[in-house]
Symmetry: C2
DNA sequence: CCTCATAAACAACACTTTGTTGTTTTAGCA
DNA sequence: TGCTAAAACAACAAAGTGTTGTTTATGAGG
């Protein structure tokens, strides 16, 4: 029984590589929906038929690239196998390790994420990322606060609030070309969640 | 000098109307990028050439529909001509009028926003909405806290956090088919901004 | 080094969508 | 009842798509 990942012919490896590069460049330049298979193969300097040898169409290509990256993302953001309730928020200035790992993963693939989350990015991408973040945050929330409280507010609403804020901060960081460290970003995010945006702006502790 | 809006031939009015309906339905069904001009004209039961009589292509159509709706949105969310610093946050349970107006505007065009913000929606749409919200919130923030504080955190970061959270809550509300009133949603949003998500989940006041 | 398998290149195909144009029909308006 | 303009109809070249059959070249193993 060989490994699930076959050794992979170097010719194939090269082809997949140039297709991926051309794809990313074109998403950046003309946007996913404006791009044609012709564009991709011309840019990659391969024959058009070769493209169809590996992908069904550009949606197939997009899907596979995104799947593989988001798998990594989910792994980076996931809680460690044994986690405690205090992983969610230890205290205002010590972000959970998973938050830091996540920013580091994104930094390691900054170009990919910047392009995909950018204005010309792939339609469903940010939605998929949001879903991953949401599921993880919802799980943390259920661990930290197992009881649906005395109806302060629907939990779903709070989770969505936090999720979108989270992704917004990540996107902002990418748009500004990551002027801060992963640890700094994770810390600010935790502080915003803990203290509330209003208090932060007013100069709260 | 006649009015800027010409009385408009009823035939044109009808055509624009069926095109708009077909467009929205198709964004919902197959997504903006999968849709062709043919799809639109077949659905609208008009000749394909007639489409080109009014729009250059589907991007032109999309642009005009979105422009006109977002103009209304911006107007609804904008601060009233004479505003005070306390319009941003009076107190935890009295949301500013502009927040309520905004939720009401969205409710009045729920189908449009739900489709456009949905997973098959128009690529740049949520980005454009976010920009409008951000500009408005940034303005409020500068009024409420004119001095870039003792470097608690970059203001831009906080504004982005709040903006994305804001849009996320709106989207969530639409996805759930608006189970709460506009006033309720505006109130929860203010409370989240003021108290922070963590405190809310813990059952804070 | 040689041979075999197969990836990639090349070429041609029918098919769809696009944008445009010239002509005819239809509907509003005065 | 006419005039005007919108919409329908028909046809076009151009471009992209997905596929297939054939040839070239490249990597892997004996």
């Amino acid at each position: 029984m060989s490994d699930t990942t076959s050794p992979l012919d170097p010719r194939i490896k090269r082809t997949l590589h140039v297709i991926r590069d051309a794809f990313l460049a074109l998403v950046d330049e003309k946007g996913f929906d404006q791009m044609t298979i012709r564009d991709i193969t011309e840019r990659a300097e391969i024959n058009r038929a070769t493209f169809y040898l590996h992908y069904r169409d550009k949606y197939d290509l997009q899907g596979r690239l995104v799947d593989s990256m988001l798998r990594e993302f989910a792994a980076a953001f996931e809680l460690p196998p044994a986690f405690g309730a205090d992983d969610f928020i230890k205290d205002t200035d010590t972000p959970p390790a998973s938050f830091i790992r996540q920013f580091e993963h994104i930094a390691a693939h900054a170009h990919f994420y910047k392009v995909m989350l950018g204005p010309r990015g792939v339609p469903g991408f940010s939605g998929r990322m949001e879903r991953i973040i949401r599921d993880s945050l919802a799980r943390r929330s259920r661990i930290a606060q197992p009881h649906e409280d005395q109806a302060v507010m629907p939990r779903e609403l709070v989770v969505r609030y936090v999720t979108s804020a989270h992704l917004g901060v990540v996107t902002h960081w990418l748009e500004e070309d990551m002027p801060y460290t992963a640890v700094y970003m994770a810390t600010q995010l935790i502080r915003l969640h803990a203290l509330g945006a209003t208090r932060i702006l007013k100069g709260g502790t």
